[in-house]
């Protein structure tokens, strides 16, 4: 078994655009769930808004790509308003139900055959990202030691991580402010915040919108890096939301770097277990009847699930979390 290449692949995955996509989605969830206590189970819906908002103007109207960025963000804002207006006055669980349903509604809507002139139907949209890759300064593969990145990937990596860093900077500013304090107060006890003169409804809506914009950025990043948008469950369906949650909890909720580090570790571990199982298979350590080649993809998620359970048992606050905070029953 070639351990070196397994580790190189895992490290390469750690900085891949995919990790940046998860980091952006998880930063949004951190604002929703970590700081405000909003249970948004529809982050994939916000990603869909971003991805299709980006691709549709290019595909359907032939407009330049940058207009898509604006549409993607606007679509996320509208989606947040539509979700928040009826549910944010109610108890927290209603938002959870509505977001998970709305995200799926949106995904089924964009794959509807009758909309295929606009959204590409179940085939999705391809070939809208040339505006971005035309700007690519890299012409050949970039190599650092054993690592090697294709020019397109490198360009997407730079965009993704710049967005993540900007996002973290933004979060640092707003979370460590009186505004951020109100967010946390709402998470702890909404009525207490209202009794002290805070407009909880408005602040929750702001939080939903901002976290949703991060979701949309993740969706745009997904669309850009893969060069296509697909209305498939693994791209924009519920698993995406729950993987982003897993990454967030792994890193530590309500911690600035929690979602970023969590996403990096999540993606690297996924790649690592994948490499490990495949390596063990080809070395003949795992018999074919036990895990077949097609089952590796599933197996790594099982292993990751076990890992997450162990984390919850022994370090429930995540990697960055504060153990003291877990002591209070809230």
């Amino acid at each position: 078994m070639d351990f070196q290449s397994i580790i190189v692949n895992a490290l390469q995955a750690a900085v891949s655009p995919e990790a940046a996509i998860f980091a952006l989605a998880a930063i949004g969830l951190n604002i929703h769930f970590g700081y405000t206590g909003l249970l948004n189970f529809g982050q994939a819906g916000f990603m869909t808004m971003g991805a299709y908002g980006l691709a549709v103007p290019v595909f359907a109207f032939g407009w330049p790509l940058w207009t898509g960025v604006i549409f993607g963000i606007l679509a996320a804002v509208v989606f947040a308003l539509a979700l928040g207006a009826p549910t944010l006055r109610l108890r927290a669980d209603y938002l959870a139900i509505v977001t998970i349903a709305a995200a799926e509604i949106v995904r089924f809507l964009v794959r509807a055959t009758s909309l295929s002139d606009i959204t590409g139907g179940s085939n999705g949209i391809n070939g809208f990202s040339s505006d971005f890759y035309d700007l690519n300064p890299f012409t050949e593969s970039i190599k650092f030691g054993p690592f090697s990145f294709l020019p397109r990937t490198m360009w997407a990596i730079i965009l993704g991580w710049v967005l993540v860093l900007l996002g973290i900077g933004f979060c640092y500013l707003v979370v460590n402010s009186p505004w951020g304090r109100v967010l946390k107060a709402i998470r702890e006890d909404e009525d207490a915040a209202r009794a002290l003169g805070k407009n909880a409804y408005s602040i929750k809506m702001q939080s939903l919108i901002i976290g949703g914009i991060f979701g949309a950025l993740a969706g745009m990043m997904l669309a850009i890096s893969t060069g296509s948008v697909q209305p498939s469950p693994q791209d924009l369906g519920p698993p995406k939301t729950f993987f982003a949650y897993a990454a967030l909890i792994l890193g530590g909720t309500a911690r600035l770097w929690g979602p970023v580090v969590g996403s990096i570790i999540f993606i690297a571990l996924l790649q690592f277990t994948d490499g490990l199982i495949r390596g063990a298979q080809s070395a003949g350590w795992i018999p074919e009847w036990f895990i077949s080649g097609t089952e590796v993809g599933v197996m790594r998620f099982i292993l990751l699930g076990v890992g997450l359970m162990l984390l919850m048992l022994y370090r429930p606050q995540g990697i960055f979390g504060d153990k003291r905070e877990m002591a209070f029953d809230v």
Binding site: P178, R181, D189, D191, A192, G197
Partner: protein, 287 residues
């Protein structure tokens, strides 16, 4: 401890009549015909109530009398079926809770709402009103640092006054029940309220701390604030209240000084049942 005569002297010529819904010389809160029903149960049905400014008014009554529901209605946490009320002459009906608080009427809760995963000082700073930094765009621009420093100084002074300054950096979730009551009262004061409504401020607080809490409540009045509080402990009521309002089954059944209330037949009946002093036997030695 204020004796009855002391209470009477404090009122002087402004002494209101001891009848339910009596007129006050300078009311801060006037409630008219407020009613709230839950299905078939009428929780609150108050015809008229005035709360005198700069006095400590106790709201007492047996369990289920509607005291907390009344608090919830007045502070916007619940909506009445009918009725209106005004605060400082301004109509307050159907105002959202945060707007009520911004007008200077602030409440605490029977079950304390300490914000567990925020430190004591952060809990306090949350109380400051109209903070520039609570606007998202201004929060980013960092133009709120001076204001924050001023709020922090005020919070520290209040913590000192409530003898909680040594717990400044602790998580509020780690405080004892009594300390949470203190924190909640101190946090409410950060809003600089004119009218402060305390829902069972002494419940679950040990006797030593009760004494200091009582002192703090009296200080509020001496600062020119108005206090309304719900309490079950009659010693507390006797100790600090200038005026007592008694509720039973949603209605105001009596008003007066604590001395008068202690002798009021209707009040005793409400608490103990109207036949409480009649013996079940035919012995007529009693009385």
């Amino acid at each position: 401890m204020s004796s009855a005569s002391e209470v009477e002297t404090a009122w002087g010529a402004d002494r209101p009549e001891s009848t339910p819904g009596s007129k006050k010389s300078d009311p801060i809160l006037v409630v008219d015909g407020i009613r709230r029903t839950f299905g078939g149960l009428t929780a609150v049905d108050v015809d008229h109530l005035e709360i005198q400014r700069n006095k400590i008014t106790a709201l007492i009554g047996p369990n289920g009398a509607g005291k907390t529901t009344f608090f919830n209605l007045i502070t916007g946490f619940d909506a009445p079926d009918a009725g209106s009320w005004s605060y400082n002459g301004e109509p307050m009906s159907s105002l959202a809770p945060h707007k009520v608080a911004l007008k200077g009427m602030v409440r605490t809760f029977q079950l304390t709402k300490a914000l567990a995963r925020l430190s004591v000082i952060e809990n306090m700073k949350l109380g400051a009103q109209n903070q520039k930094g609570e606007n998202l765009f201004r929060a980013m621009m960092r133009g709120w640092k001076d204001e924050e420093r001023a709020n922090e100084e005020r919070a520290d002074a209040l913590l000192k006054r409530f003898k909680m300054d040594h717990m400044r950096e602790e998580f509020a979730g780690g405080l004892s029940g009594g300390q949470r009551k203190l924190l909640e009262m101190a946090r409410a004061l950060m809003t600089e309220p004119d009218l402060i409504m305390l829902d069972e401020p002494m419940a679950g607080v040990n006797p030593a701390l009760t004494q200091s809490l009582l002192g703090h409540v009296k200080e509020l009045r001496d600062e020119g604030r108005t206090v309304v509080f719900v309490e079950h402990d009659m010693d507390v009521v006797r100790d600090i209240s200038d005026w007592v309002v008694v509720m039973a089954e949603g209605k105001i059944i009596a008003e007066g000084t604590h001395e008068e209330i202690g002798k009021n037949r209707q009040v005793i009946d409400a608490y103990l049942g109207s036949h409480h002093d009649e013996d079940l036997t035919f012995d007529d030695e009693e009385e």
